[in-house]
């Protein structure tokens, strides 16, 4: 159906002025590439302030002038949010930025090897000096802009959903974790480091496998050499994976991480919010999603195992953890999970069980291969090659260039949905061992499709809701937007008993009971 693009959604003069303000701020950043002598800390402050004022001012003008409520008016008409000219342009600029950031940081003015920074990176030196006492790097520039994006667009999100307390709390949470854990704390940790003391400072909430390099030799070495604090951090890293994560996911679903804590999720929920409806809802996309994300998971497990394996010794007398013991531990752990799942949850998994089995077999075969080919080679690849390939393909191309650069084209959670191995693990747990579900409200669904449209993970929520079936999907990040946009009060995210969580019957209330029984006969 052709719907004319109405011009009721043109920006007002005030809004245009606010957008211009932000563009000037960004333009100053671009100008800094040309090394103007007169650019100072003050210029940087001014530029960043202009950007923040622009985003927050625009948000206030847009949302506070209207009563609180769901206001997605014109989302499909505006060029930026409906894959129009501005959408593609934004996508292109972001993608280029990521490519330069990851692969050509010297274009941004990164110094290094005794050379001082210049350009954009140097422009951020004063801020970096202030926080961590060192000159900036391209990652510092990126981290600063990233944090500003989450905070400013977070403010926009807070206004947009000001009637919804779940959305508000969740947004305060991601804003806090980004500012404190991802940005400030690592900078302060860096400040503690000196020539005699070096701690690998990092974003503590960044858990393996998202933080795929956490167990590399240089990091583990420096953790250990940093004494008690370092050891505590290393232990915290391991405990996060095996204890904290499973407990929280059991109690609250993967949302505790994906939409309350995680930085990737944080950006998707704030700056990415205007693009959430662009996610692909087709069943085909779901199939691809499951293959891709689980392949990434297999890849990261193998890569990490190979990397750790490569620096462990063979001699039990020097250290109890040898190559052999380590491989046996990994194999044992994976087998245990595999067996438990197959014994207790087989019927819930259905066809997925087959894919699980394939993944398991691949990993175990590879582990055995690693053992026999021993040394540093996993088949033909060096552990280090494996790691750098992962870093390039998954860490840079997938999570950065495609994941964020393509927001305006594929929607905001492409990385979280197709690529993130952390999401795969949490999702597996959420699907099988968690109290979280989205409850549907009897027969109230009118199949309007708002929920599916605004699900950033491309889940066809309506397909469940219109059958009165709870939504228990591994990919659901619990953003709560489906529940917020539903005009009939059909969906509620909740943590409740495991029993009756999955109800694959067509239970539609309002019907006479005998008919319900008949309909549910298979």
């Amino acid at each position: 159906m052709s719907i004319a693009k109405p011009d009721a959604y043109k920006n007002s003069t005030r809004q245009k002025a606010l957008i211009a303000t932000g563009i000037i701020g960004l333009f100053v950043l671009v100008l800094s590439l040309f090394n103007f002598e007169s650019f100072s800390a003050l210029t940087l402050t001014a530029s960043l302030t202009l950007i923040v004022v622009s985003i927050c001012g625009f948000a206030a003008d847009r949302y506070l002038s209207k009563p609180a409520g769901i206001k997605n008016n014109g989302v499909w008409f505006k060029s930026i949010s409906s894959k129009g000219f501005y959408g593609w342009l934004t996508g292109l600029v972001l993608t280029l930025f990521y490519i330069v950031l990851y692969f050509y940081p010297h274009f941004l003015g990164l110094g290094g090897k005794g050379k001082a920074n210049s350009g954009l990176v140097a422009f951020f030196d004063p801020l970096s000096q202030l926080l961590n006492g060192n000159p900036a790097s391209q990652w510092f520039v990126y981290g600063t802009l990233y944090t500003i994006a989450i905070l400013a667009f977070g403010y926009k999100f807070l206004l947009k959903y000001r009637h919804n307390r779940y959305e508000r709390l969740r947004t305060y949470s991601v804003m806090f974790f980004q500012l404190a854990f991802a940005f400030l704390i690592p900078e302060f940790m860096a400040r503690l480091n000196s020539d005699s003391f070096s701690l690998p400072y990092y974003d503590l909430k960044n858990i393996w496998p998202l933080n795929y390099y956490n167990f590399e030799q240089y990091r583990v070495d420096s953790f250990i050499s940093a004494g008690d604090i370092g050891l505590a951090l290393l232990i915290f890293g391991v405990v996060s994976i095996f204890v904290i994560t499973p407990i929280l996911t059991y109690k609250y679903g993967k949302r505790w991480y994906c939409s309350w804590v995680c930085g990737c999720g944080g950006l998707a929920e704030t700056a990415g919010d205007p693009f959430r409806h662009l996610s692909d809802k087709r069943q085909m996309a779901w199939k691809i999603e499951r293959w891709v994300i689980h392949s990434v998971l297999v890849f990261v497990v193998l890569m990490t195992t190979a990397v750790i394996h490569s620096y462990l010794g063979d001699d039990t007398s020097t250290y109890w953890l040898t190559k052999g013991t380590f491989l046996i531990m990994v194999t044992g752990f994976l087998s245990l999970i595999f067996i438990l799942t197959m014994v207790f949850k087989r019927h819930e998994l259905g066809k997925d069980a087959r894919y699980g089995a394939i993944g398991y077999v691949v990993i175990i075969t590879a582990l055995i291969g690693m053992h026999y080919f021993s040394g540093s080679n996993l088949f033909l690849f060096e552990a280090e090659t494996l790691r750098s390939t992962y870093g390039f393909l998954i860490g840079a191309i997938f999570s950065g260039v495609i994941g964020t650069g393509f927001y305006p084209i594929f929607g905001s959670r492409v990385w979280c949905r197709f690529g993130c191995p952390m999401a795969a693990i949490l999702g597996f747990q959420q699907r099988l061992f968690s109290r979280f579900r989205i409850t549907t409200n009897g027969g109230q669904c009118i199949s309007c499709g708002n929920c599916s449209t605004y699900c950033e993970m491309g889940i066809d929520v309506r397909a469940y809701a219109q059958k009165g079936e709870n939504i228990v999907r591994s990919s659901c990040v619990g953003c709560g937007i489906c529940s917020a946009v539903c005009p009939r009060g059909v969906l509620k995210l909740e943590n409740n008993s495991i029993k009756g969580r999955i109800n694959p019957n067509e239970i539609l209330l309002g019907n006479d009971v005998d008919l319900m029984d008949l309909v549910n006969q298979k």
Binding site: P67, G69, N72, R282, Q283, T439, S447, G449, G480, K492
Partner: protein, 436 residues
Amino acid sequence: MEHVVIIGNGISGVTAARHIRKLSDKKITLVSAESDFFFSRTALMYIYMGHMSFENTKPYEDWFWKKNRINLKKGFVNQINTSSKTLHFSDGDTITYDKLIIATGSKPNKFGWPGQDLNGVQGLYSKQDLENLEVYAPDNKTCKRAVIVGGGLIGVELAEMLHSRDIPVTFLVRESSFWNGVLPKGESAMINREIQRNGIDLRLSSSLKEILSDDKGKVKAIVIKETNEEIPCDFVGLTAGVTPNISFLKNSGIQINKGVLVNRYLETNMTDVYAIGDCAEQRDPIGNRKTIEAVWYTGRMMGETIAQTICGNRIPYKPGHWFNSAKFFDIEYQTYGWVHGKKGKPDYEQHFHWIHKDDNKCITIAYHKDTQIFLGINTFGVRLRHDICDKWLTEKRTTDYVVQHLKQANFDPEFYTHYESDIQKAYQNTFQTIES
């Protein structure tokens, strides 16, 4: 192989087709004059407002129909010959059936107003209506003012739609307060205020006298009956209810009244011809229900029922407790059981009403004045659990019980403020004053 033909690809026809496919291998043909594929009529407003694309409103992907061997045919049936079991299409085509399900839905009411067929005057029901709306009211330059006639659920949706494109709206409501035939006084008054808060020019106790034409056959103004006031406008939305869309059945021998007359088994007077959804009219009302129920879920339930009957398990249509929901601008509304407004309220029905000071949340609980038994509940701005309310109705709980356990039924998102204790306090106060 038996051929089941269904006229109408709305929720009722589609549900029937899906369930017949689940239960059998019969040949199924789904006919529609409106759209190639099933879409959600309830989402029409969101397309115009830019919340959703038309594609988003389709509950099933396009491959679904072929995969499930449901043939789709686009065309308008203008005649049915029940003796030769043949459908005649307006383009001359024909098909024969073994079993026929009529699921043709509704059309907007037109009460013979002068000028009701002018350009720029229309209802809001079909995809075509939406396309016409894009012609006559795409923005506030083409349409300097719109007038909506008829204060019901579709009227308020249309008002919200036009308002989303900054088109000034005058909303004529015949009743003295919005939808007060259905809603109790307090609720209806709150919705009046919500409509006005959103900048709609709400005219209560105002009905349409006539629609005036410009020299090109397009609407230029309307006249209000009560005051003779003339309001210039470029668009008139007729939303004074709907009637079954069955004029093509006139000479078919199938008995019709307002709708297609059916018994509890959804059978018409002709063998092998059934009717479901908006267009079906029960010969005898079921409980408190109207004989024609133009709502989404009853269409779905009739579709499920008829599928059983057609597949050899003849069962009656037995809807459970009444429920429904809607949204008035930013205020969601749910109802379970019966809470009557002015119209048809039985003598024994009494109400407890609570309204929040923010004027955007309220509830009304209806109960039997002698037995205190809970009859139904309306909520505005608070979501309730369907299964719990349904259970209370079945178990015939008392109002005291319901008020005390209200929290169990709360379905608002996590961390929302709860109002149960406020409501309980108000409830106690009301009853103390009555007793003293």
